[in-house]
Each structure stands twice: as C-alpha cells, then as structure tokens.
Amino acid sequence: MNIEKNIKLWSSLGMRATFGLIAMELSKKYPDLMITTSDVSTSAGLDRYKNKYPEKFVDVGIAEQNLIGISAGLSSEGFKVISTTFAPFQTLRCCEQIKVNLGYMKNKICMVGLASGLVLGNLGFTHCCIEDIGVLRSIPNISIVVPSDPLELFKVLSGAINYKDSVYIRLTAGSNTRIVNSKDYKFEIGKAIEILPGKDVAIIGCGNILGECLEAASILKEKKIQCSIVNMHTIKPIDKEKIKNIAKNNKLIVTVEEHNVIGGLGTSVAEVMSSDRNNCKLVRLGINDFYSSGGSYEYLKNIYGLSVEKIIQTVLSNL
C-alpha cells in the first residue's frame, strides 16, 4: 500500500470512510479478523467490507451492551475483534461492559469511536462526545489513542490490532479533514511526536484539532513566537518522559482537545507535571465542562476556544 499516495484521498474521505478502506486491508492480512457494530456499517465506511467479507462482520443492531459482550465472547475464542459505533454509544452506553469484559477480564478488543468530539454538533450533544477519554481513563488495561488524521488512523489500527491491551481509538472530524501528517513517519502507540519544533511555548494536542494548532503556530511565527506542536496521540499510556521534558524546556504549555478539560489530555498532562517541580504554566483548552447549544463543527469549535484565532489568543494572553 502506497501510503503517501493515499494521504490526499484519505483526507477528503475523512476518518470514517478511511476506516472502511483500512478494514479491507486488515482483513487480507488477518484471517481471524472480526468487525462488530451496532447498526452503523455505512457511517463507519464499512459497506464494502460487509459485502466482501460478510462472515467477518457481525451487526448486533442498536444494542451496545450486547455489542461489547458478543465482541468479548468472540475475542475469548481467538478472534481479533474491532468493534465500532458512534463514540458516545461505543463508550458510555456500554461502559460497565467495557470495565468488566475488557478491563477486568482483559478480553482484548479494539474499539473505534466514530465522530467523537464536536463534529456532529448540528445533531446536538447526544451525538457529540466530550466525555469518552475521561471515563475510559479510569478503567485499567485499556489504552486510548486519538489519531490526528486518516494517515495516522491507518498506523494506529495497524498497531492496535496486535497491541497487548484493548485499545480505544477516538475518531474526530468529518470528511475533508485537515492533513496533519503530510509525509510518512514512524508511529508507536505511547510515543508522542513533535510535529513542529519551537521554543518557550508548546502546544500539545490530540486529534484532528492539531490541524488548527498547526495553522495557529504558523500565524504566531509571523508574530515572532515559535511554538512547538506536539501530537500526543496516546492519552493512555501517556508519554510521561515527553511531558516532563516539555515542562522543563518551556514556559507555557497549552493543551488542545475536543474533550472536556476535566479528564482528558489536559488533565493527563497536569497529572504528570504535578509530580515535578517546574516553572511551566499549563493552560487547558477544550470543552469547559458545559454543553452549549448545538450547531456546526466550526460554530462549536469557536464557542469552546478551539478555533485558530482563539488558540492564538490563548497563547498570547498567557505568555
């Protein structure tokens, strides 16, 4: 598979449709792959996969508790299972099943949460998800990875399918995602990546919102402020060394995520920083623990300070 040729196409398709294409590739490689869903094949880009590999596809209908139970049962019998539905239903509706089956019993499953964050804002907050990272972080034996763009999703899925623990893969943005990684690169679960070098200020982000961060950084560069940008795709296990290093070498860290500032990336960074003496201020950008009125993705990002302008303002006002 020619990675770089696919970057443009995958970005226009968005994470969900790319997931469908990646599933086709994974199925060729893993004969014991099983994809399970709760009546969301089309929304997950899985129609082609479903038609080509019906024996490797299980739709349990709109029943997320059963989705996890059946997936865990299949996993216990040796299948490599990827379950998927929209993020709030994938993580919250069946949270206890995730705790007991994946956390406690360690039946390994990759869970792909579709359209997490704010992208479905015009459907209201029942379909947005700003709580998933916070909730899952408190369950042992589950890793949490937030790919920044479809190319990273390909790398995450390829790594997650053989990873030792269950992995929750959080997809953000819709079609026409921003391209964060324009070239092929080395990826490892648990290892954050500096995608732009800088000094004094570090922006640590996860998910496609890193696209906004990159744009903000290039405007700040014109104002002679050189922020570094770090892609902290893995929230758990968090890259402690990287955070300690950044805190040692910067005056300001701004975390950026389409998630509640309570419980997500920002909180994870704060936890690591708090155990060291350092001279670094941490500002957490994200959803400030309230549900706003609904609207478009851009409208919501603006409300929660996640637009390019607001990221720039945050950096400037905290320097």
């Binding site: 216990s76 040796g78 206890e96």
Partner: protein, 269 residues
Amino acid sequence: MKINSLKNFAKNMRKNIIFTAFKAGSKSAHIGGALSATDIIAVLYSGIMKIKKSKTIDNDRDRFILSKGHACLALYSALVEKKILKKKELETFEMDGSALLGHPIMNKLSGIEFSTGSLGMGLSLGVGVALAAKKKKKSYKTYVVLGDGECNEGSIWESILSASHFKLDNIVIIVDRNKFQQTGQNSSIMDLKNLKNKFKSFGCETTEIDGHNIEQIYKTLIDIKQNNKPKVIVANTIKGKGFKLFENNNNWHHSVISKSIYREILKEL
C-alpha cells in the same frame, strides 16, 4: 443407574455448598440462589456437558457460563465433584487473594469461563462464544444459567434477540426461576409475569420444567433438537432448596451459616 449418579452428584454439591458457606463464616455467602440452581448444574456437569480436567485449555469443551454469578458456590462445588478443582480449595473461599471469591473469577483451566457477577452480562458473552462456534464450524455447546431477577436487565433481552436473530441453536439458556431476587419476590419488585411466553416471543424454543426433578432436567437437556433456534428452559425452582430452614426464605439470599445452624442442616443430608 444414571439418574441415581446424577442425584448423588447433586447431593454432594449441596454438601460442598453448605460446607464452604460455613467456612466463610462472617464473610457470609450467597446460599439461597446457589441451592436453587444446584440440580440444574449437577445434571449439566455430571450428565450432559463435555468437560473434564485438563492441563491445557481444550478448545472443544462445552462452555458453561454462570451468568447469575453470585450462585458461584454451586459452580465451585460442581467443579470439585468433577475433580477439576480440589476440595481443599473450597476452604479458601472469600479469603484474601483467593482465586475463589464471592463471584467467579475467570480461569479457564479451572473451569471458570468468565468473571460474572454483574448481572445481565454472562448471556451476551455466551452469545459471542456460541457465534464463534458457528463461525469456526465447531460443535461445542454453550450453556448459560440465568437468574430470574437477572431478567430485569435490558441487556438480557438484547442478548436473546441476537441469539434468535443469529439462529444460534448451539446455545442452551436455563433460567433458575426461584421467584425471588435480592430484596423480595420478583412479583413485587419487578414482575416478570409469564417468562416462558416472553422467551418464546423472542424466537426461542422454550420449555418449562421442575428445576429439581433430576430426571426431567436430564431428559430435557439430552433431547435438545437442532432447529435454528436458541433453547430456553425455564426451570421452576425453590430458593434454598435442599434444606428446610432455607427454602423460600429470602433471608438466606446472602447470609452467615453459624455452627449451630450448620449442625442442624447437616442432619438433612
């Protein structure tokens, strides 16, 4: 004669159950619900399921899932009678760091398929396991024991819908219908009404039997036909069955067996 050996197995299970509960002392134990399920589990382990002690996991074994995990004393007792667990291990019940706790902890080599206890989850796992058998074209059967109170959980009905939809005729679900749940009778907490009809309407081949008639349990289980439907057996039972002091007395849902009570109930065996 086969039926006598099954009855004996059940009797020994009851001995083990009260022995273990007594040893647990003030930590107390779920007694009533284990005793109501004993005859069903006895027949499964001594007469029906393909299961035995082995050094490695036998992928062709029949799977048993105790979805009503709090009845684990019945499971542990059956595993002891089957010589998969040692009788000595029952003395570690509910002790610090023990492998035998008040709800089962997954250990497939010890015959414990999953860590159940949070009600409503075991059946879903069973559906996954039965589905795996179909996909791998394996002939093992999956047996799941549910509590009737457990059928309050919506997740049970999600599982039943799917078992029927996937035409899983390799799963047998037995409901221990002792008509009680934690704080009282089903009929006053959350009435299940006609449970047999409910399962039937969900597309299951359903029968209703006396859950303490060993012969009837055996004949029902041995006679199961393959016909694209999951099988449900609603077994009418008595909570605490086997000891007059415990029978239909919901105080023995989760309680302590004192020395004097132990002496008294031993006489009934």
